[in-house]
């Protein structure tokens, strides 16, 4: 059975496609070094239009009659009240633009004017090297460094120096933890259920927040923040898993790129933290089977949020405490407890084994 995986690696080779959702202009070139917030590609997406119906407004016989009176062409820039069409003659009637904009098309006696647009950009999302251009869409960026995947993001991205505060990394993010030293920094906290803390962080101009878990009740507030919020474990109060915590603590002070996208299983896009390092990493595997010896995190039901090691995969179906039957594994948790956990509730924390060690230090 293929395993659900979350990648937590101290040093790996990372390759990411950074592409726009619609075709646009690529602003980088192959071989270019980029920083997390450098724009890779951009596009203007029209958001507001005027539709001026010359044919009906002038009560003409056919749309073709209207088009004969329109003295403009697609691409023309217009100011408010500019004349689009006029009948001429002694009692000339005119049609003017309702506001400034650019003519998109003229058809059927109607003039379509683009009044507003918004710029959509795609940033590099990590410090690295552009290795390939994806025409009209973006580029491939590569780096080596620390990779920590999350499960939820508020659709923002950013980067900043990683700031670890002892009292928040193990506990709740409270407004009192948002001091003057957090400007442009990426904060780390165990969990958050305080909307005020998130708002205070915005006022303090943080560059991002990394949370072990978040209360679902504050999701609307989290989604409204202008900086990235990434959640590593999920929803509730179980906080940071010890392995991610240790890795983040060991990276304190480094520049962390936070890509707080939504987890999309259909595209494989996942929220993640990338800390580029000046060493070469190896690529990581994208699929594994469940097997003994793996470090796993429980993501549902009993033992939620705990990390342990798979002792063995139990053959066949196992009866759970509530009577349901499922494929399961015997897992030894860090506190020494042994338990049987359904495989469907396990996330393999894929990481290089040399990083393992006592995880209670420094936290």
């Amino acid at each position: 059975m293929h395993a659900q995986m979350t990648h937590v690696h101290p040093l790996v080779f990372i390759r990411r496609n950074r592409t726009l959702p619609v075709p646009g202009v690529v602003t980088v070139r192959t071989g270019q070094k980029v920083s997390p917030m450098d724009v890779i590609a951009e596009v203007e997406i029209p958001t507001r239009h005027y539709l001026v119906d010359v044919y009906r407004s002038l009560g003409l016989k056919t749309p073709a009659d209207a088009e004969k009176l329109i003295d403009r062409k697609p691409g023309d820039l217009l100011q408010k009240n500019d004349i689009i069409a006029e009948t001429g003659g002694m009692f000339s009637r005119v049609i003017r633009t309702p506001g400034p904009g650019k003519i998109v098309s003229i058809s059927g006696g109607r003039v379509l004017i683009e009044a507003e647009s918004r710029k959509v950009t795609k940033t590099a999302g990590m410090s690295g090297l552009v290795t390939e251009i994806i025409e009209e869409r973006g580029a491939v960026v590569e780096t080596s460094g620390t990779l920590i995947q999350g499960v939820w993001g508020n659709m923002q991205s950013g980067s900043g120096g990683l700031v670890i505060q002892q009292e928040t990394v193990d506990g709740e993010l409270l407004p009192s933890a948002i001091g003057l030293n957090v400007r442009r920094a990426v904060l780390v906290a165990g969990f958050c259920k305080s909307p005020e803390a998130l708002q205070a962080a915005a006022a303090a101009e943080v560059s991002g927040i990394i949370l072990g878990t978040i209360s679902a009740s504050i999701l609307p507030v989290a989604e409204a923040q202008p900086y990235p919020i990434i959640v590593l474990g999920g929803f509730g109060r179980f906080g940071l898993d010890p392995i991610s915590k240790k890795l983040l603590i060991s990276s304190s002070g480094r520049e962390a790129a936070v890509n707080a996208v939504k987890w999309d299983r259909l595209t494989g896009e996942r929220p993640e933290i990338i800390i580029s390092l000046p060493s070469d990493g190896e690529p990581y595997p994208v699929e594994v089977e469940y097997e003994a010896g793996q470090i796993v995190r429980v993501h549902a039901s009993d033992h939620l949020g705990k990390v342990g090691t798979v002792q063995k995969i139990i053959p066949g179906l196992t009866r759970l405490p509530n009577g349901l039957r499922a494929n399961a594994a015997a897992v030894k948790f860090e506190d020494g407890e042994m338990s049987v956990v359904p495989l469907a509730n396990l996330d393999v924390l894929h990481m290089t084994s040399e990083f393992l060690g006592p995880t209670d230090e420094g936290g």
Binding site: V22, P23, V104, G108, N322, A344
Partner: protein, 575 residues
Amino acid sequence: MAKETFEANSVLGIDIGSNNTRAILFDVVEDSYHFIASGIAPSSHGEPYFDIGQGVFESILRLQETTGRMLLDNDGNLLIPSRVGGEGVDRFVVTISCSSFLKIVTFGLLNDVSLSAVNKLAYSIYGKVVESIGINDRRPQSVQLDAVLAAEPDLILFAGGTDDGASRSILRMSGLIANILEIMHPARRPRILYCGNAKLGKRISDGFSRLTQVKVTRNIHPTIDDEVLEPALKDLDEMVLDMQQKKLGGLDRMAPLCSTPPIHSNQGFHDVIRFLGRQYDPAKGVLAIDIGGTHSVAAYANHNFSTLHTLGYGLGTGISSIAEKSEIKNLMMWLDGTRSEEEVMDYLWQRSLYPNSIASNQSDLDLELAATRHILRLIMNDLDLRGALPSNRFEPILISGSALNRTITPEQSLLVILDGVQPLGICPLILDKHGMLPLLGAAGRLDPLLPVQVLESTAFTNLASVINAVSNAKPGSVIMQARLVYANGSYIDAEIKQGSIISLPLASGEAGELQLKMLRRTVIEEVNIYNEPFMVRGGVCGVVIDARGRPLRLPENAEKRRELFHNWKFMLGGK
């Protein structure tokens, strides 16, 4: 049934869902098709495989393990047709429900005529109507245009005008659609299905085909009184499948192996329910609901009417739709108060991240069953709002979905369904525990005998025949006396109290005669025809009389709810 089946005997069906892929084997046993076994594996259309093949392969492997029958060769290829030694299968069908929800914009003329009809068409596919525009829409056209652009539709359904009827409004609307398409990047333009005034079909097609792919189908309102959805539904389904086939890795490789082209699971589901709708009491109708991971499907059919609805509620990623604050309060009513709203929201959101996770303790299982009840309520409310159900009397009710397969006892499943659907009258409750309804529909396109014979077999779990009694009497007062007479002449008597639910033992498939004496103006059907004894069939929960009232009223006080839930479970023989 002694009819001959065709020479190809075994049929392997694969249903690729958003969470799981099922392999189901049907074969002929003693001249009749039977369900043999099923294998299930996580679907693999998403990360890390991005190809349906792995999930299909694993599900067939598990089917092989269960049956001991070789279906794959040493290279992992499907053995088709079957070999002399019995390895392999003769026919292969595939149904799909793992695609992402399409964003649909509908255009029509009159709200109650073409716009209403085209929205019905949209409800039937795996999608969501994100914008709907008719001629009575008071927004300026530029605002309508911006609204459609902001919605970023994958598909436009365009209806309006009777055949040889209105054309100017249609052409004006098509001008707006053309403007929208012109603004969008060619790679992002939605496809169009035109199902309006047939006279304009070619003109519409010619006009749009320079901008996007357009398909013209039969007018869904050829006259003002006639609504004909079937041909458009078929063309729409083909169009959507074609769109998804390009996105779904591995389907193009698998499709040539299929004995009939792959279809959407909801269409197969609908096929079977339509067939059943013609078999049962014409005064009632068959209701079937499948609760999936990202969406649910509901179909209703009677002798001359059928309807199909795909709704964005599910117990996987689709659970986030009920994890919103506004819905949590209603869901909390199905819980006994031992968990806070915050905990429940956190649980549901966590579940949406890991749709295949399993509740391993009783409290979490109770929460998932509460979510299932709530989803069933939401589905029934939506069907009601859409005017999809002529009445709340059904014969039978078929329910499928992994949530109900995860219950521990049949009584649990029964209570969840009754609490969620809250049917009226007399209805058999049937559980599709293997999730095979879509595949029966697909296989029925090969051989109509297959679904008929499998439906007659024991592949489905007949939970109970349920008699739903409604009375205004005080809780605890006797509203009915019941006598169930068994085939051997013995009988059992019961007094039914208002607010209770009881089970009279009658083994699955066995027939008994039920005599009911109504007291205190108790009603079962709209017309009280049950003064005479009538025949009932037993299920695994026997014959159930539900006198809890409609709609079910749950106490606000959590302690009282806990007691009530315990009593219901106890009365049905649970612990």
